[in-house]
Amino acid sequence: MQEKKDATFSYQFPDGDRRLAFSRQSSFRHWDPPLPSPSPSPSPSPLLRSHSFKPYLARSDSTVGMPLLEKPGQKDATWVALILAAVRGVANGSRPMKRLALMISLNVAYSMIELLLGLFTGRVGLVSDAFHLTFGCGILTFSLFAMGISRKKPDETYTYGYKRLEVLAAFTNALFLLFLSFSLAVEALHAFMQDESEHKHYLIVSAVTNLLVNLLGVWFFRSYARVNIVYWKPEDMNYHSVCLHVLADSIRSAGLILASWFLTLGVENAEVLCLGIVSVAVFMLVLPLFKATGSILLQIAPSNIHPSAFNKCSRQIASLEEVLEVSQARFWELVPGYSIGSLSVQVKKGVHEDRILQHVNGLYNDLGIQDLTVQIDYK
């Protein structure tokens, strides 16, 4: 029933392979939960599961569930061991992961320096910038964590695997960017009302450094530096969100630099103008990503399949002579590239179900629905 058992899931989509944008073949190259082969013996073998790992995100009774280490039976993980595991995970990770880790460490180091400088010299602007950076770093760390953990095989509690976490990380990034744009708008309003034009010269240095670091990040993820992207794999969403994050940050730094340059030129209300433009730009930048991730999390029907295709399939099935009715067809996307569905088919009595199952599965597999559960009711 599931023809594609592609156990090796390739991370690196060939660069610049946009010509596949129209074809549906690539949707078959996906992560497939390993199907156990049904046992031929009639004796009831209770649980056919080929994977029996301990769940990675364990449900312990403590209030904060800490991720277990690789070794089974090691209950309490010390902080040092956790950090070592994290470093090991990153070192074995894919290239984007390493780049992201590098960027995060750069950002963290930079924000630490800024915070200490700000505290000791008493400059509030530096402190606020450091806070902002730290928040952004936290979100990026969550993205990194999602990248690392998404390779885990599905287990008992997370039956669909961990790939959803990437979508969630992308959503969190998008949300953070929305908050950022909102706060920039508030700041612009504040500057407008206060009408203060203090030349924050010491902020220029920090803004330039920030800009450089973020531009490095944009360069790392340059293939995702677009607003509207077709998502083929879950990592696409995550990388796109990271790229938008650093892009938005660099736009903000550039805006600050521009604003202070205009102020030195003597342009009135330069700060308000620049901040306003930056806020609007970030908002427009992040909106498509927010909508796409939101629609996956809300379990909206797969966006890459037109609704008329669903209707057509449904009609095709209903047109079979044994089939009386097709009902409760529901489809949703687990991650971009992997869609799941369930439907209920009523047939006349005495019909053998294999034929119908094969036919229905074939129809929906052509659409791109990999995982389908069909309930056959006999009248």
Binding site: F176, T373, Q375, K379
Partner: protein, 417 residues
């Protein structure tokens, strides 16, 4: 994506119509035809497949009413503070007013999520709009985190700008006022909890369940639930002090409530809260905790103006406490969004029970996941013996899942080998 409507088709030889007379909601549920055991549509008992709140769901209106009252209160207090702050020309009061504004924003998000969850499901959004609740709660909690960060930042700014501008007394007074406001709202949002969803819970989730029990022919079902009803009824009464629901109504709901409780979890009587009201409650709770922190800091600065760093330390500690309160809810949200098996379902018992059935050889591809906290779906492939009756096995499996685990939406694919 045709929906199967419940009125029986003409091909049924025997149709028995039973009108269910539940007190408040006679209008919202159409009369259900009593299907014979080999019924037409196994997939969905009850009128509208339960994937959207029925329009008159009392639980939903209750929660919305509470949130609206909280919003109104907040706006009133906020205007009072803004006026007072402008008159007294104090930045601290205005900052607190801005804080209340963020409260209003959080309540608006919760209100919107609650309202949106009642929209009818459509083919594009085939599971209804319940997930919006979860996303709204996630946004709320992110806001709480953001506000905690902002508060810590402000404490640091206060530390840096130490040119005598910080008036300990003013900080103390403003935060005390904020604390009183927050406590009032916490009581409003939290107190009615036991009352509100005691019957809402039974109603919203289990009405189909309750119907089934009155229809099923097996008399052992009746026996079972009468027994547990009698047993649990007193228990229910203890839980809800402010109990103004007529007892007949309570009777209907408590028994369907208990069915689930007594079969799944022994002794865990914690009823489910609406997640949006709960997240608004968390927001208010976090605010009161932080108000306490600022009060302590203000008192210290008032008493000894040179110990300014105490303010920062206090704020840090209390912010961490606030974040800790949100962790549990964040974990729940994360689990639902990751489509993981809900905690209250015991998977091993389910699998064992299924495999122990007649005719079932094995099961695989079992997926249990939740749309929102409390609404669980299941899909699975069951392999049966070559000579077994697929229809009968399907009936049994669906019935078992519905009875014992209260999962109303199960899709089972039967295969033979």
């Amino acid at each position: 994506m045709e929906r199967h409507n419940s009125p029986a088709s003409a091909s049924h030889s025997q149709v028995i119509e039973v009108n269910i007379d539940i007190d408040r909601d006679a209008s919202s549920f159409p009369p259900i035809s009593n299907p014979s055991p080999t019924s037409n549509n196994k997939a969905c008992r009850g009128g509208t497949c339960d994937l959207s709140y029925s329009k008159d769901s009392p639980e939903r209106w209750d929660s919305m009413r509470k949130l609206v009252i909280a919003v109104v209160l907040c706006i009133v207090f906020m205007t009072v503070e803004v006026i007072g702050g402008i008159k007294a020309n104090s930045l601290a009061i205005l900052t607190d007013a801005a804080h209340l504004l963020s409260d209003v924003a959080a309540f608006m998000i919760s209100l919107f999520s609650l309202w949106a969850a009642g929209w009818e499901a459509n083919p594009r959004q085939s599971y209804g709009f319940f997930r919006i609740e979860i996303l709204g709660a996630l946004v709320s909690i992110q806001m709480i985190w953001l506000l905690a960060g902002i508060l810590v930042y402000e404490a640091i700014v206060r530390l840096i700008h130490d040119n005598g501008e910080v008036k300990g007394f003013l900080m103390f007074a403003v935060s005390a006022f904020g604390l009183v406001v927050n406590i009032i709202m916490a009581l409003l949002l939290g107190h009615d909890h036991g009352h509100g969803h005691g019957h809402g819970h039974g109603h919203g989730h289990d009405h189909g369940h309750g119907h089934e029990h009155t229809h099923d022919h097996g008399h052992n079902h009746e026996h079972e639930h009468m027994h547990s009803h009698g047993h649990e009824h007193q228990h229910e009464d203890q839980d809800h002090e402010a109990n103004t629901i007529p007892t007949k109504h309570q009777h209907d709901h408590s028994h369907s409530n208990d069915m689930k409780e007594s079969l799944i979890k022994k002794g865990n009587k914690k009823p489910k809260r609406n997640i949006n009201v709960h997240s608004a409650y968390l927001h208010v709770l976090g605010d009161s905790i932080q108000s306490v922190g600022v009060m302590v800091g203000g008192a210290v600065i008032w008493y000894k103006p040179e110990w300014k760093i105490i303010d920062l330390i206090c704020t840090l500690i209390f912010s961490v406490i606030v974040l800790l309160t949100t962790i549990k809810m964040l974990r729940n949200i994360l689990e639902v969004l990751m489509e993981s098996t809900p905690r209250e379902i015991d998977t091993t018992q389910l699998e064992k029970g299924l495999c122990a059935m007649n005719g079932v050889v094995a099961i695989h591809e079992l997926h249990i996941w939740a749309i929102t906290v409390g609404k669980v779906l299941l899909s699975c492939h069951v392999i049966i013996a070559p000579d077994a009756d697929a229809d009968r096995v399907l009936d049994e499996v669906l019935g078992y899942i519905r009875r014992d685990f209260n999962i109303s939406h199960a899709t089972i694919q039967i295969e033979r080998h």
